[in-house]
């Protein structure tokens, strides 16, 4: 078979795939008529295919479907909800909000009227107002609840004011400033990070 044109082997497979061109087919047929080795090769390939195709159908076990259904993750609308949440991450927070509304968190908000502030060494507290004195720099985040904050100095961090006001003459805050005055916003703030956690939790369980 060494003397045979190299493309004859390729043509055999083109023929078997059913996508041989007319020219190639003519060339292949002419060669097979004159070459015993190639004719036998072609014959063997045909037998090989017939051999594999004679494989009997192997029936699926009777309880197969039932076993699949048992293995499916539980929860009526599990995947629907998961999909929805993953596509609309902002609604994770909204969904959490609804859950939390029915729980005690909102009541917690109404009851929680007490003034509080994150402990930072150089903060001055006057009544329910927190002051960052001029010339001072507070390093770290400040959260003020049910009170105001006046920044005269500088803050190297985020400021969050819940149920209060942020005031500054010359703002010198490196981080973000958030004022949260409404119950909804307060909850929103509390669950935003929780929402992210839920998403990563869903992904882990994918």
């Amino acid at each position: 078979m060494n003397a045979c044109p190299k493309q004859i082997g390729e043509y055999m497979h083109e023929y078997l795939d059913g996508d041989i061109s007319r020219e190639h087919e003519t060339e292949l047929k002419a060669h097979l008529q004159s070459c015993d080795d190639c004719r036998q090769h072609m014959q063997e390939l045909n037998s090989t295919i017939a051999f594999v195709k004679s494989a009997a159908v192997v029936s699926v076990p009777l309880d197969f479907k039932q076993n699949v259904m048992v293995r499916l993750p539980k929860g009526k609308s599990g995947i629907g909800v998961q999909r929805w949440l993953r596509r609309h991450p902002i609604f994770v927070a909204a969904a959490m909000f609804c859950i939390l509304m029915s729980a005690s968190l909102l009541t917690g908000f109404n009851d929680d009227k007490e003034f509080s502030v994150t402990k930072q060494p150089n903060l001055v507290v006057e009544g329910q107002t927190v002051i960052v004195p001029a010339g001072e720099t507070v390093t770290g985040d400040i959260v003020v609840k049910n009170g105001d904050i006046v920044v005269e100095g500088a803050v190297d961090g985020n400021i969050t004011v819940i149920n209060g006001q942020y005031m500054a003459s010359t703002a010198n805050v490196t981080g973000q400033i958030d004022e949260i005055n409404q119950a909804f916003e307060w909850l929103w703030y509390k669950i935003k990070n929780g929402g992210k956690e839920i998403l990563s939790f869903l992904d882990k369980n994918k």
Partner: protein, 187 residues
Amino acid sequence: MDALINKRIKQVLKGDQNAYSDVVSHYQQKLYQVCYRMLGNKHESEDIAQEAFVRAYINLHTFDLNRKFSTWLYRIATNLCIDRIRKKKPDYYLDAQVAGTDGLDMYSQISSSDRLPEEEVQRMELQERIQYEISQLPDKYRTVIVLKYIEELPLQEISEILDMPLGTVKTRIHRGREALRKQLGNL
């Protein structure tokens, strides 16, 4: 048929888990068959084919309804089979008898270098021999040969299932056919 399947898929996506049982009914035979021919072991194929349906269910939201569901399902199943083949030890074992194939032992995962003695191969019944020869193929050839000649799928669909250019599929089928031909000798 595809329209009915898509309808069921939409129902599943809306949360009706039971609608999935029609999907399983429709494809279970095909999927089990592919896994069986790939793995040559009844118990393992059942496990892998079921796993394929479970994964399809979990990831159903990623399925594009404009495409063929069977293509997607075959893809999940063949990937699982290939993973399983690669994880397995290179030695072989005889599986328990296969229901409905009367005393037929199936060989699973015998690498080409561990071919059985020729007289043992010659003694095999036809069905046993077919499975044995398929199992002797390297997995990349085995997959295309099973999809082409057992499932009788068009080359274009095989290329979609394996996410491989059509040319690569053809090359693998050509080599798979040649490899089988050599294994069979002068059958």
